[in-house]
């Protein structure tokens, strides 16, 4: 069982991510109402939010240091923040500004941060080989860093999943594969896409340990990840962890969600992992309701400052589009 300090930090990281995305969500809809135009407003393009999945990011990244490599997906904010990415440069990138992580060239699905060794990809499962390569580099460089690859349950049926796990296992590399099972791949539920109930069981196909964390439990994630990351760091090779989590919102903002009923969505909201964790922390007298509210207030202040930084930053010069094709 993690210490109270750890529990409070897990909570703080979840709240930071949630508040950041709630605020991004508001900004995203600026200029998109009444008529939704995906190209309009301060934040254009698809926007994939991770509300409900914060336990996965917080529980895993609590064990990481900035030199550990993390690859995430098209839904990367919660992971990026939990791994310590500068919120201001993250926000600025989402707003397409010169001060963003990629000078506005990447956008919300293409966040690359050398400071925290973070990268992501909008192509399903294709961030996984990059993590394997990072782990390979660590072994060659004699670093005891690890690589963590986040991916969704929908990605577990993509060829890159299979090749990445086999190669990591074959070469005994320090990688931890973390499957965020939020049941849905856009509109396709897991049982309409995956031939077996749990991807954790697929670890046997590579001879590596597999762990299943149920009920979107941040403490369960923290413990499973601690074991897997510790093992990888000590040269024990790769592991696969699957976490049953929830996607509270649509696949992307503006998703009509015709594929799931209002009841289902309300059911998910009702079991919001953050609220449940707060109740548990209060019951166990780790964090009072007031203290939790303060955490949220502090997070909102941090987020507002980051969003303000993003808004007030300049756009890149249009002609800069031609730069950075080659080093």
């Amino acid at each position: 069982m993690p210490t109270d300090d750890v529990l409070r930090e897990l909570h703080r990281q979840m709240v930071r991510a949630r508040v950041f995305e709630e605020t991004i969500q508001k900004a995203y809809f600026e200029g998109k109402t009444p008529a939704f135009d995906i190209a309009a407003g301060p934040i254009p393009g698809e926007m994939h939010l991770a509300a409900g999945q914060e336990p996965v990011a917080a529980g895993v990244c609590a064990h990481l240091r900035p030199s550990d490599a993390v690859t995430a997906t098209h839904r990367p904010h919660h992971v990026a923040l939990a791994h310590g990415m500068d919120m201001r440069r993250l926000a600025a990138e989402i707003f397409g500004k010169e001060t963003g992580l990629g000078r506005g060239k990447g956008g919300h699905m293409h966040l690359f941060d050398p400071e925290t060794n973070f990268g992501c990809s909008g192509i399903i499962a294709e961030g996984m080989p990059t993590a394997v390569g990072a782990a390979l580099a660590f072994t060659k460089q004699g670093r005891d860093d690890v690589a963590v690859s986040f991916f969704g349950e929908g990605a577990a049926n993509q060829g890159a999943f299979h090749e990445s796990l086999n190669l990591a296992a074959l070469w005994h590399l320090p990688v931890v594969f973390v499957c965020e099972d939020n049941t849905w791949a856009i509109s396709v539920p897991k049982d309409k896409a995956t031939a077996i109930p749990n991807n954790a069981d697929r670890s046997a196909a590579y001879g590596i340990p597999g762990a299943l964390v149920t009920d979107n439990d941040v403490v369960g994630v923290y413990e499973a990840a601690g074991e897997a990351i510790g093992r990888a760091r000590q040269g024990g090779g790769p592991s696969l962890i699957e976490v049953e989590t929830d996607r509270l919102l649509g696949h992307f903002e503006g998703d009509p969600q015709v594929y799931r009923s209002a009841e289902v969505i309300e059911g998910l909201q009702a079991r919001d992992a953050i609220r449940r964790f707060e109740k548990r922390l209060a019951d166990n007298e780790v964090l009072t309701g007031e203290a939790a509210a303060e955490v949220r207030t502090a997070a909102q202040a941090e987020v507002d400052e980051a969003i303000e930084f993003a808004r007030s930053s300049p756009y890149p010069d249009a002609a800069d589009a031609l730069d950075h094709v080659f080093a």
Partner: protein, 341 residues
């Protein structure tokens, strides 16, 4: 040009496409659809909307995120006499399944000496301009047109989209059907007035490989396709106000390429501007210009020119992306330069 029948029946391009699919599925039990989110969701860009309710999950099949498996399965099913339609959600994802598309779907007919047919329609969404970044905004029609064995259809209007989809489904060859997000008439994309237009209800075909003069003109030929047809038509209106009559030739696809139409138009106007939303080099713009050189060299009053997407990955930030995309102003300017006034 598109024949307009008396009664006006307005459809978006997305509805025109799903109507064509539905009509073919009605009379041909071998036609079925596979893809991600093509069922309950109706396709991310609406190309299969309403089909699940109408034909059920046996014929409108949502798939796992396994493009190699389900696109390869389309090839395998076609070899057994079915006529599958498979959707690759964004063309940008081709790299996860290109072997099935190109080493199998495109080559088996030839390798079999013509003994086997592979009647698959591979639909995919192309195009950007709405801030979706480097992995979700490309057109890439040049990439596919370079590789032999598949027809490549790229419509620009609802009317063409329906007729070309009907032709694609009935074609015994693999057909890559690329629809631009900006021509689908989606409620959540920047409105394009020409993305809703008259579409006859009865099934009809438009021959694959025939270009269409979307606007006749005498001073310069603007060759393009897909969303850029609309940009070129807007530019042509502006040019007309200055007394420059631009002809807008919509290729409607790249394989087979309607070289006759290109040459015929350039011989008439003596001037050629190619407008290309795909990457500038080693693609469509160079091929069209070379086609004009091969067929109309002695008729040219000025060197042919091109306005294309620069050779850079698609940037996310709006000013950067808009800087890269051809638009009516840059098209009109390029045309004026060629015409010399």
């Amino acid at each position: 040009m598109a024949q307009i029948t008396e009664t006006k029946r307005l459809l978006t391009t997305a509805k025109a496409i799903s109507e064509a699919i539905a009509q073919e599925m009605e009379h041909d039990p071998n036609v079925f659809v596979m893809g991600e989110d093509i069922g309950a969701y109706g396709g991310i860009f609406g190309a299969t909307e309403g089909l699940l309710d109408r034909f059920g999950p046996e014929r409108i099949m949502d798939t796992p995120i396994s493009e190699t498996a389900f696109i390869g399965a389309a090839v395998g099913a076609a070899l057994q006499g079915m006529r599958p339609i498979a959707e690759l959600m964004f063309v940008d994802f081709f790299g996860v399944c290109m072997d099935q598309i190109y080493n199998h779907m495109a080559k088996i007919h030839y390798e079999s000496g013509g003994n086997l047919a592979v009647p698959v329609v591979l639909t995919t969404a192309i195009g950007g301009g709405y801030g979706d970044g480097a992995q979700h905004s490309q057109t890439l029609y040049g990439t596919f047109a370079h590789l032999p064995g598949m027809k490549v259809v790229v419509p620009s209007t609802p009317y063409d989209a329906k007729g070309l989809m009907t032709s694609a489904i009935r074609d015994d060859n693999p057909v890559l059907y690329m629809f631009h997000k900006g021509i689908m008439g989606l409620g959540w994309m920047t409105p394009n007035p020409r993305a809703t237009d008259h579409v006859p209800e009865e099934p009809y075909t438009i021959p694959i490989g025939k270009a269409d003069i979307k606007r006749p003109g005498t001073d310069v030929t603007i060759v393009t396709l897909s969303l850029m047809v609309h940009r070129a038509l807007d530019a042509a209106d502006a040019l007309a106000r200055d007394g420059i009559e631009a002809e807008v030739l919509d290729l409607r696809g790249l394989v087979p390429l309607d070289r006759e139409a290109i040459v015929e138009s350039v011989r008439r106007t003596g001037r050629l501007l190619v407008v290309d939303e795909d990457y500038r080099s080693f693609g469509m713009s160079g091929e069209v210009i070379t086609t004009a050189i091969e067929g109309a060299f002695d008729y040219l009053d000025a060197p042919p020119a091109r306005l294309a997407y620069p050779d850079v990955p698609i940037p996310y930030s709006r000013p950067l992306e808009q800087f890269c995309l051809p638009n009516p102003d840059t098209i009109a300017t390029a045309a004026r330069q060629i015409v010399g006034r």
